[in-house]
């Protein structure tokens, strides 16, 4: 199949902003027509490095990656607003870029006049715009306001008009950068429908998005950019999965650092307590931990099914909360408790051994308590953990208030507090479309 967009060895350098060699750029541009030859390596920032790929006609191609990975730069170079430093881009067909919606609008003149000028900027003739004018106004839902100057528009109206113009110029190639942020729910759905219509018409689409579910369902292929380089390319499911696990790994490292910091602080506070007679001032830390310490929770670990310590779990996975306990004397009155809170501070679940009718007999010395969750059926999000040891009447031995953090990830963006195990079933006269990737692969 013929390619609509070919990107070859694309490299983009940005000059780091410094007052010192400001005129260097101008001088080299003037003398050689090359902006970067004269700059030293430490003066430039490498936004894209030797990126090569080809997008077939009629294909929907997704670009993912974390912030600053070069996704938008890449899209802008393909659109032609930025020039690549090295390498080349070959584009076959008319491009419309949904990157900076309404960037060319003039606030003082009416929506109608802006449609004409914007259309001309996008390469349409006056007659072509006239033909599309009604469609644009209708799509933007601005019939009432089209004669008012643009400066009176709300942000949503402004973006809607920009979107409507860009999508109605009948491009062969559509570049989209995070469009779902445009307008309200209904308009977002309309945009999505329009994109699907484009797919159906066999137009080429390039999408940059952080909404991985959308990349998964819309794209035929995807590429993952990491610090300006292609990390992986191919089937969107595989690429998204690889990207997600990379993000999870990074997140894991961050959370585990946080966890060990908490433990460190905990140890330090302990020493302080032992060495000084006077109680230390109530720090923020003190508000998060209290109790007589006759029974002390010395360590809390979150473990996965292999017994590995983790801080990111996939919804539905098993999780174990393991506490290492130390009792100074023989104690006969004790309860262990666990509580899970979401980021809004809502208690998702809480229980203790007393509530579950376990009658304490005796504890002494070092011990382990494990709280095993067979299926962590929580929705995506960040959660905080309470652990506690106390007497049956509630007098605390050692209470840890939301000292531990873990994250639950999920591909399904469902809402609520927890996810009951569920399945949909339908009578035979209801049918659903298969996901596109499946018939393609």
């Amino acid at each position: 199949m013929a390619s609509a967009v070919v990107v070859e060895n694309l490299t983009k350098l940005y000059r780091k902003y410094s007052q010192k060699r400001r005129f260097q750029t101008m001088k080299s541009a003037l003398i050689r027509g090359d902006l970067f030859r004269q700059l030293r390596p430490e003066e430039v920032f490498l936004a894209l490095e030797k990126v090569s790929f080809a997008v077939d006609k009629g294909e929907t191609f997704g670009i993912i990656g974390s912030n600053g990975a070069g996704k938008s730069t890449l899209l802008k170079i393909i659109a032609g607003t930025l020039r690549s430093t090295y390498g080349k881009v070959v584009v076959d067909g008319r491009i419309s870029a949904l990157i900076e919606l309404g960037a060319g609008f003039h606030p003082e003149i009416s929506g109608r006049e802006n449609i004409y000028i914007n259309g001309i900027m996008l390469g349409l003739s006056k007659r072509e715009i006239q033909r599309r004018y009604d469609d644009i106004v209708q799509f933007a839902e601005l019939e009432e306001f089209i004669e008012s100057p643009i400066k009176t528009y709300s942000t949503g109206m402004y973006l809607r008009l920009g979107f409507a113009i860009a999508i109605n110029v009948d491009p062969d190639i559509l570049l989209i950068d995070e469009i779902i942020a445009v307008g309200d729910e209904a308009f977002a759905r309309k945009c999505l429908d329009k994109i699907k219509e484009f797919q159906w018409k066999k137009k080429t689409i390039l999408i940059v998005s952080h909404s991985l579910g959308m990349i998964n369902t819309l794209c035929n292929r995807a590429v993952w950019l990491k610090q300006g380089k292609i990390e992986q390319m191919g089937d969107p499911r595989r690429v998204v999965d690889a990207y997600l696990s990379h993000v999870a790994e990074k997140e894991e490292r961050k959370l585990s650092r946080l966890h060990s910091q908490t433990l460190e602080k905990f140890a330090l506070a302990e020493e302080a307590k032992l060495s000084e007679e006077a109680p230390p001032p109530a720090t923020e830390y003190e508000k998060k931990r209290w109790g007589s310490r006759e029974i002390e929770i010395r360590e809390v670990k979150l473990l996965d099914k292999e017994g590995q310590e983790r801080h990111i779990f996939t919804s539905g996975e098993p999780m174990e909360v393991r506490m290492t306990i130390y009792a100074r004397n023989k104690i006969k009155d004790f309860v262990f408790g666990v509580g899970i809170f979401n980021s809004a501070g809502i208690s998702c679940y809480g229980t203790n051994t007393h509530l579950e009718k376990l009658v304490p007999r005796e504890i002494s010395g070092e011990a382990t308590v494990s709280f095993n969750i067979k299926r962590l059926d929580l929705i995506q999000g960040t959660y905080f953990l309470d652990v506690a040891a106390h007497q049956i009447d509630g007098t605390p031995y050692d209470y840890h208030r939301q000292l531990y953090t873990f994250r639950v990830q999920s591909l399904i963006p469902d809402v609520g507090v927890f996810r009951p195990q569920h399945k949909w079933s339908f009578s035979p006269n209801i049918s659903f479309k298969k996901k596109q990737n499946k018939n393609k692969v």
């Binding site: 027509g33 607003t81 900076e100 003039h106 000028i117 001309i120 900027m121």
Partner: protein
């Protein structure tokens, strides 16, 4: 460069649309609206006439009456020239969002400046011609040279605007420099005085200034009703072409740096 120039010609429609947008936007919300295009030069003329006929009262120089009319012949095109340049010194950074965010031919912008000021110039012409007729100036065959002078000024101004606009992206200082330069230039051009007031032996200095010949072209064709010095005008035409070439070459070379520097 030639390819860019060709594509610039293809953007005629865009320039036209942007010029009309500029004019519409400028008067939007004002009571007099487009009428300002007539009133502005008229008021300017009033001020100069007052200063130079009531306060200064220059010695009567032959063939300079009415002085207001003489002044107007030069002042109108000079306003076009100087405001085009002043606006183009800021036009690229003012339209940064177009340059950075949309696929937009930057060379259109200085052209829009020059042409929207040209429209103001054209709107001032009826007033000028009304005065010419009122004072019974000889409107004769030499008026045919008038469009030629305009053409020379368009080319000259365009070239200069390209030059200024692209350089001012890198040197913001140009804006302030230019304002002062234009004041100096105004007095170094025979607009408020005829070139005959300059002693013979210094006149060659005045001749080095291309604007001298353009202004005298207007004064000859409109005010004096005589054949302009077509040799000097032809040389000025060539100078204008050369300036346009240099200005456009510079603009084209610096074009890639705009998106990152504005």
């Amino acid at each position: 460069m030639w390819r860019s120039l060709k594509s610039l010609l293809q953007y005629r429609g865009l320039i036209q649309a942007l010029v009309s947008r500029e004019l519409k936007a400028r008067y939007r919300g004002s009571v007099l609206g487009f009428f300002w295009s007539f009133v502005n030069p008229l008021l300017l003329l009033l001020v100069y006439t007052f200063v130079f006929t009531v306060i200064f009262r220059p010695a009567r120089i032959e063939g300079l009456t009415p002085y207001a009319l003489f002044l107007f012949c030069g002042l109108l095109p000079w306003t076009w020239f100087s405001s085009s340049l002043l606006e183009s010194s800021a036009v690229l950074s003012n339209n940064a969002n177009l340059i950075q965010k949309v696929l937009f031919p930057a060379d259109v912008l200085p052209c829009v400046n020059v042409f929207s000021n040209f429209i103001h110039f054209l709107l001032g012409l009826p007033i000028l011609f009304a005065f010419l007729i009122y004072y019974r100036r000889p409107l004769n065959i030499y008026l045919l040279f008038f469009p030629a002078v305009i053409l020379i000024q368009i080319i000259f101004t365009l070239g200069f605007a390209m030059f200024i606009s692209s350089l001012s992206v890198h040197f913001r200082d140009i804006r302030d420099l230019l304002a002062n330069l234009l004041t100096f230039w105004f007095f170094a051009t025979p607009i408020i005085y005829p070139n005959t007031m300059i002693p013979e032996r210094f006149r060659w200095v005045l001749d080095l200034n291309p604007m001298t010949h353009i202004m005298m072209g207007y004064q000859d064709t409109l005010f004096r009703g005589q054949l302009p010095h077509w040799k000097k005008l032809s040389v000025t035409f060539l100078v204008a072409l050369a300036l346009f070439y240099v200005g456009y070459f510079l603009f084209d070379r610096l074009r890639d740096s705009f998106a990152e520097e504005v």
